[in-house]
Symmetry: C2
Subunit: 342 residues, 2 copies
């Protein structure tokens, strides 16, 4: 591949704006075209970001543009057809999370890319957040000995439906949209999951799906990890979009608190406090600054893998394991059962 | 019954000392005798508290003393024979938690007391803690609307085995000894449990039983309550013997934090902070002051029920439901199953 990779974006919604800004931040890529069935939205986004070409149909785009990769930032049901179209066109693919609405479709997407010999990435950015990386580093340095339990908390009352009204229409909401991130981070921090139990709840009467999920994961290494996600929370401190984490090991603990404060406590040695602030970008929405900065690192990681500098961290193949947790969580909640991963 | 109730104590260990002090605090009772197979311990306790008679065998005590009730503060395996001996003697019974080591034995104890027509109480004091009562009051006043989820946290590194070395020898440790309290408080706050899933862990290599338990309860009213208990925690703030609680409702939340700080947050109205400090008693062990003060309120509640002033709050019959949760938790963890209450 050439040094500057040429790509196109599918989807011109709320999130595409930040993802495109993050690509500019990363550099080394050239955005040739944007495609959205809503021509007006696509044109506006093209104008805002100086994108040369606008399409409303994927087929025409793939026919006319010579691309190294595509970045799919569109609605969930459109992911599978677009990923498969890209594979057919022999173009590497980045796809927004969640990969697809059911596990069989996810598998078919991974298979299509494998068979076409194109690289396939899921844009799983949460694990790239600065404080999350710092927590992992402290664990890997052996600071708390062997981890045995953890809590990962994303409980908020932030009005996500104002920016993304389509979320209120999803039959499956909070695990598909948000839980998928936290479940992926649990894998990033503690490795793969052996079994899980989940109970979802629907509190907000004005949305279609569930807005609370309580999940107890047991990892293959024995760590018990409680994942709690809620958009129905009324707490003293609104913490959106931060994930708060407590990791307990046999020699200490790591607590990631509000505003990226990390407390490392070591047996017999007291506590130390750090701050793990993310980089700030002028283009980021202040409400989402932490997350938007992780899009930059996520894009950089994917670009490095596209350039064969490093192995892919958030490959489609890897993300199947995260999606399995999403679907198992719903199944567990529906049937009141403890479910084991494959 | 006369105005001053006459009673005897079984067990002269660490905990009996505080329970006897709490009875003196409550008043209206007269402690006639203490019984412990270890005569030296019994004599020391009798001397310390001015108890007229010392026994090493329950049978002799029941033969020779004319009692209104007994307070059993002895080892777990001795609870059932002592409760049944008291029932046979026609004496009301208070028994320390946990009631017994298996559910069938618990049932037989309740039955024995019912058949003998004696009142039977479990000394379940945790629910009487000042801050716990305050949380319940705020909920009952409708301050947070309808509760939908909660967390109850007792995670500590306090060296309980120093004061109570027998705890290190229990096959079943943390749920039997500590979890039983937190599970009982969950019932006090949210009503009865529909189903649960639990995962226990053994971290401390120097004890026989498990020292961590992670339990997700779903109450009959739909509240999901995560109960986490640990004696293997190394946290910045050692919080022993406090239970930290977060209760989320559709109109707000109640957070019980370290040192009895309560934060009430109400939708659109911000937060208010209270302190719910327990009474202080000179005889209490400073490490256990919160808990020892709850022994006074618990004893008072039982005395009121003995005097027919109020219905029993922590009757043996009621406590069967708490013990069911204890045994279901172990079974759930052993078999990786979600279990429903009877």
């Amino acid at each position: 591949m050439e040094n500057t990779l040429k790509f196109a974006v599918f989807g011109a919604g709320f999130w595409a704006n930040y993802q495109i800004s993050a690509w500019k931040q990363v550099g080394g890529v050239e955005l040739l075209a944007i495609c959205d069935p809503d021509k007006e939205k696509a044109k506006n986004m093209a104008q805002k970001h100086g994108i040369p070409k606008v399409y409303t149909e994927a087929e025409s785009l793939f026919e006319q543009e010579k691309l190294d990769f595509v970045d799919i930032i569109s609605s969930i049901p459109s992911h599978a057809p677009l990923v498969k179209a890209a594979a057919k066109a022999g173009v590497h693919v980045i796809c927004q999370k969640p990969m697809a609405q059911d596990y069989a479709t996810c598998q078919s997407m991974v298979k299509a890319c494998e068979e076409a010999g194109v690289k396939y990435f899921i844009h799983e950015n949460f694990r790239f957040q600065t404080p999350i990386r710092e927590c992992k580093k402290l664990m890997e340095e052996g600071k708390i000995g062997t981890a045995f339990r953890a809590k990962m908390t994303f409980c908020s009352g932030f009005p996500v439906f104002d920016n993304q009204p389509a979320l209120a229409e999803l039959d499956r909401f909070i695990i598909m949209d948000l839980g998928v991130h936290i479940l992926d981070m649990s894998r990033f921090l503690f490795g793969d999951v052996e079994k899980l139990y989940c109970q979802t709840q629907k509190i907000n009467p004005n949305i279609k799906g569930e807005d609370v999920a309580n999940t107890l994961l047991t990892m293959k290494n024995g760590v018990n990890c409680f994942v709690e996600v809620s958009y129905a929370s009324q707490l003293e401190q609104e913490t959106f979009p931060q994930t708060l984490i407590l990791i307990e090991g046999d020699k200490g603990s790591i607590r990631l608190d509000y505003n990226h404060h990390i407390t490392l406590t070591q047996k017999g040695q007291g506590s130390q406090k750090f701050k793990a602030d993310p980089p700030q970008y002028a283009w980021a929405d202040p409400d989402y600054a932490l997350i938007h900065s992780s899009v930059v690192t996520c894009n950089q990681s994917i670009l490095d893998a596209l350039m064969d500098r490093v192995p892919a961290e958030t490959s489609g193949q890897d993300n199947l394991k995260t999606m399995e947790l999403v679907f198992l969580s719903y199944e567990s909640s529906d049937n009141n059962k403890v479910l084991f991963t494959q």
